[in-house]
Symmetry: C2
């Protein structure tokens, strides 16, 4: 729910069209909050959308420039960095704890999800973001193996421990926060990208899967996931299904 200090009537999100990508973490917070947002680049190019909208936002929005999308515009304020936007929206829409320490814990979890997402990206781009996957496939196979065998179980085990430490039902206890919403997307993404490895490892963290389902069943999230606004994973985004990068 918008709280009294929401200054702008709506949010403008700038993110690459055609992939869920990092923009999806922002969308999930807006959707769960019931906060109106305009997904600018998903409008037709004739209405100011398309990739050009993101390029324009990177080059010419007023104020502090952004290094990369997603970018959120709220009235005169323009901010970037996925975790930062999620925390900002969470604080405004009752999706953050009400205490200084609790907000820092939510951001800690959100940033650990960011780290996971960056590592997943690097499984298919271990050498350079300026080269195609096919040009770095050999290194990608090595990096993906290390990710699947060492990092993915460490991340899954970590979030499972975090959930246990709070007693649930949410990562930080009684109330759902922005990091719970982001964890849903991260777990769905891992399952999409590494179906065989995920199936094996997920058996060890049943409570984490229940948390994932609990988030997916929140009424506004369920409505969003069933809507045309929700974009499917694909091989242009962060979570890509390349069978040669999954477990045998």
């Amino acid at each position: 729910m918008p709280t009294a200090n929401v200054a702008a009537d709506h949010y403008e999100l700038y993110y690459w069209p055609g992939i869920p990508g990092r923009g999806e973490f922002v969308r999930l917070v807006c959707e769960d909050a019931g906060a109106p947002y305009l997904d600018v680049a998903r409008r037709p190019a004739s209405e100011g959308g398309g990739e050009a909208a993101v390029v324009r936002a990177l080059e010419s929005l007023p104020g502090l420039p952004a290094f990369a999308p997603p970018i959120l515009r709220v009235g005169a304020l323009v901010i970037a960095q996925t975790a930062n936007i999620c925390g900002f929206l969470g604080d405004r829409h009752d999706l953050s704890p009400g205490t200084e320490g609790g907000r820092a814990q939510a951001m800690q979890l959100q940033l650990t999800i960011s780290d996971l997402v960056a590592e997943v990206h690097d499984t298919h781009h271990p050498i350079s973001t300026a080269q195609y996957y096919e040009e770095q496939r050999d290194a990608a196979k090595l990096r993906a193996a290390a990710f699947r065998d060492q990092r993915m179980p460490k991340f899954l085990g970590y979030f499972d421990r975090a959930l246990q430490s709070s007693g649930g039902p949410w990562l930080l206890g009684d109330a759902c926060c922005h990091a719970d919403l982001s964890l849903l997307q991260a777990l769905l993404g891992l399952e999409y990208a590494f179906p065989r490895a995920f199936a094996r490892q997920a058996r060890r963290v049943p409570e984490l899967l229940r948390l994932r389902d609990r988030v997916a069943e929140r009424p506004r999230i369920a409505a969003y996931l069933a809507s045309p606004r929700r974009q499917a994973f694909n091989e242009h985004g962060i979570f890509r299904r390349y069978p040669e990068l999954d477990a045998a």
Copy 2:
């Protein structure tokens, strides 16, 4: 200066001894704030320090577990994630802007520095953190070339643009924030790790170098840099000088 709402008398930092690493970003905020902190793992093992102190912190501090150090303990609160800790301390010690939007901008900058740091780490570990550098040197040479040629100029250009957009003298304008302190460490680290590439690229961002010097000259930072508390960069940390990864 500690503000009235600082609940604990001092902070406990848990970070791997022997390297500046990600812990250094936290140290710089504490030092500039004049906030007392105990660098737990740098005490002798006989007094509860050493690597074992970090391992114990990861395994058994109360509350939300941490995925990795640095970890900050403040009374009953334990938080992790470098950027999160820097923002938390910045908010408490007048090293963050006083507005919701300004704090989000400081965190945006801090997280962009985190991204840079992660990319620097991956120049020497592009395949796996569980393998030695020497086992992944061929991939490291490729990744380091892409970092030096494409990413480092993009990051330097970005922070230069950010500084221009505020009008200076600090990244966000009139007041120094935690991201300025972190930028000092990032720029010193780039210069250490890639002396030839940095020397060439830094010529294009003279205002950024002046900002770096301005941070280094802040009285408490200058005193810290000259003190035995300051640790030198070395080849066990994030910023490593391997001549074969620098420009020709």
